[in-house]
Symmetry: C2
Subunit: 297 residues, 2 copies
Amino acid sequence: MSVTTKATIASFGGKLLKLSHAAKTTNCEMNFNLYLPPQALKSSQKVPVLIYLSGLTCTADNCSEKGFFQHGASKKGIAVLYPDTSPRGLNIPGENDAYDFGSGAGFYVDATKAPYNNGYNMYSYVTEELPKTVFEAFPQLDSNRVSITGHSMGGHGALTLMRWVGANWRFKYLRNPGKYKSVSAFAPISNPINCQWGQKAFGGYFGEDQTAKWKEHDATELVKNWKGPLDVLIDVGTGDNFYKQGQLLPENFEKAAKEAGIQGVNVRYQPDYDHSYYTMASFADDHVEHAAKYLLA
Amino acid sequence: MSVTTKATIASFGGKLLKLSHAAKTTNCEMNFNLYLPPQALKSSQKVPVLIYLSGLTCTADNCSEKGFFQHGASKKGIAVLYPDTSPRGLNIPGENDAYDFGSGAGFYVDATKAPYNNGYNMYSYVTEELPKTVFEAFPQLDSNRVSITGHSMGGHGALTLMRWVGANWRFKYLRNPGKYKSVSAFAPISNPINCQWGQKAFGGYFGEDQTAKWKEHDATELVKNWKGPLDVLIDVGTGDNFYKQGQLLPENFEKAAKEAGIQGVNVRYQPDYDHSYYTMASFADDHVEHAAKYLLA
């Protein structure tokens, strides 16, 4: 469980650490970044953590450089954990051939279909192994106060990894009822079973015959069975080409929540904003604020 | 003087425009970025402009994506103009061979030595042709309220392009006594005639025999002859490897100012910060604030 520090970079009064560790769930060395706000460097009090899940093609670095989360996190005293988006270097034939499947495109699921079931376990990695590693290595982080957010494929991750207690799809959620204090997303793939990106990924990681499994990882399906309060902040740009192409389908998520009588799904359609980090940077403070409401309550 | 719009990107309530134009001073098509804050889109009042000059190897895009000037500029109602760092594609033999000379390394001077005197005129480009082009194309920008800042080579640019009225090195400064309302810099090459980067660039652009010319573009030499008030904000990270290697020499600039009895040179040595955009992002708001004091006075 040891963590290697590859770089320490001053950022907004805190430190951005570039780290790596030998991960068992993914069978490879995994890079990740961790932003420690100034409060985590100076005080003996533990700070909460916001996990940011990246989108297709990204590593931990993109949002660390361009997402502007450190700005708000520094002010609020929240650490930000940036995982990578897939295993790396497993040498599975074809894993580097497409931008939307295989490396850089783990989709935050545990693959059941060969050959990807040998290492493409980003669900277990992000929900279990990485947090366990990080909380052991950094005792100044509070494992009881964790929120989650993400972009595009990472928005899908954030919306499906959250505590879907009411959903009963997977009993394991019940084992960690307080896993995430809050959830938000930028341009999330909100209904993957009904878009090309999701169908390709779920077909490749689960197989075509596992539609029940597909639904376990589809936010729109999960929200239909939600019981209890919900407070989800979602930003989608109206100038986002992937939104226009029907890859994101936030309206399906909204509709399903409404039909299930669920309040608290706040989708903001931001005029002209695109799918890029310019959008994340513009609204990162709002998402840190959203998490802070719960993490600092 | 026509300007081509290559992209329009929503950012912090305003628009980042990716633009290009056929520049006469540099004999090529030049890319540049312009951030229009929300105030420039909605109001009939003109907004002031902050010019940001980039460092070695950069284009207009790096700081637009990673510098976070848009955050503060959006709040203050200031446009940000991001020029490129050299001519591109002139096909001068060797111009692409080094990261610190030729393309990406124009040093904000007008070259006098062949073959670079044919197009490497970034001084004239940044002080004359680009602003003229921009103010014609965007009447919502106020040509009477312009400030300048920059990073590394661009910090050198900012400190040497400013209105050195007292210096009398070049009469042309006197023709535009109000060219820049304020100046600031990140990790500037402050004494190029005494560092490797500067000596290589000035030797290549001016020749070894033109030491008087070299001094005209050296901030430390210029400040010695300054008469009048000065208010320069400079941030340098103590973890900056180029600072440690003696490429920046801000202490020489400070010392020269002090010996000339000049107040108002505020060099902040930021503990552990490095030479990267993480540093710029962390203090961009302060530099926008510094410019706003004068631009919005």
